[in-house]
Symmetry: C2
Subunit: 212 residues, 2 copies
């Protein structure tokens, strides 16, 4: 009788734990990240994402690899399985460029929209990403393409004040919201598709020298 009671109790505990785990998985992501972030090493995160399950060699760099606003942002991005739509004004952070490249190599469809003026500035990662085969489109007008958002798997919105620069990550007061909410995601996905189409190179206008 005692053994049956213990088995029943164990089964009940397991059921509760499973239910809690399922609820946690199903609960939409809601997170706010504030910057500046402590500098940190994300090599272990990138290695695990590039080759899941492979033994991770310790990184020789002196930076800690703990939990920071940057490592949390990278984790959210690396959760992409099918698509990553990026709309980023300034993109010069090598760590985030490597994150995007890992996703691209893993077969995630990456589309990147950026600002024409900033794109050519010193330190911009856009050339490197294009070289890696990632699709990039940019504006062709005088106003800035000033958005700073990412959409993961058409499901999770990552948006805020943060440009993807090392200066912004390490030195500025910045915010990033992570929102898994169909209504907000749809609004931003629609905006992304509008911009992606508008910035299609087939629509570029060329003005010959001397024309007005």
């Amino acid at each position: 009788m005692r053994a049956v009671g213990a088995a029943l109790a164990a089964a009940a505990v397991s059921a509760v734990l499973l239910a809690v785990a399922a609820w946690r998985r199903a609960r939409p992501v809601r997170e706010v990240l504030f910057f500046p972030s402590r500098p940190c090493c994300i090599e272990a995160l990138l290695a695990e994402a590039a080759e899941p399950g492979a033994p991770v060699r310790p990184c020789p760099c002196p930076l800690p690899s703990g939990d920071t606003a940057l490592s949390r942002l990278v984790r959210r991005l690396l959760s992409a399985r099918r698509s990553l739509d990026l709309c980023v004004f300034a993109f010069s952070c090598p760590q985030l460029a490597r994150t995007v490249q890992v996703l691209h190599h893993r077969g995630v469809r990456v589309r990147l929209v950026t600002d024409a003026q900033y794109m050519g500035m010193h330190g911009s990662q856009i050339g490197r990403l294009r070289h890696a085969g990632i699709q990039v489109r940019h504006d062709q007008h005088s106003g800035y393409m000033h958005h700073k958002f990412a959409i993961v798997d058409r499901r999770m919105l990552i948006t805020g004040s943060l440009n993807w620069t090392t200066q912004a990550i390490q030195s500025n007061r910045e915010n990033v919201l992570v929102v898994e909410d169909a209504e907000y995601v749809k609004a931003f996905q629609d905006e992304f598709e509008r911009i992606w189409e508008e910035y299609n190179p087939a629509n570029y206008k060329f003005f010959p020298k001397g024309s007005k």
Copy 2:
């Protein structure tokens, strides 16, 4: 009998309409605004907010006063009754400065945090707002205070990529989220209080010339 039936039907319709109105009032605000916004006149909104119920004189300016991203943003701000906490990197839009002044004159407690480098630039509205008696604090370090958010009545968060400049409003691709959600609002309110305290002039450090 017929009259009783009609009266009952009318009462039922009224009850439904009242219930819908109550539900709408109770439903948390969720809005996404995209910019650029068409230029628009907000004089009628400001006049109504400054003196509710007073007859609004038509504005002689040629701009339309219709529904735009800017007018929606202004309406959300003008809904403040007790407090407006602002954390804005670049603030040079005269229309938004007037909006904040109207709230200040109406007795709303306005606190404004901004960036030291941008504050002194041509067109900045910070001097005007300080002159009007609004409390302003700014950073004292080399990184940027790059947030662009507002919290209305400690209840509604307005945040995104948009600096409060006419260029950003009229020419840039920008986003603003309006979120009435206790969890997100608390995170930003806590960040505001941290910054407000950190930027308290009593904590400023002064370095005599020649010191290192």
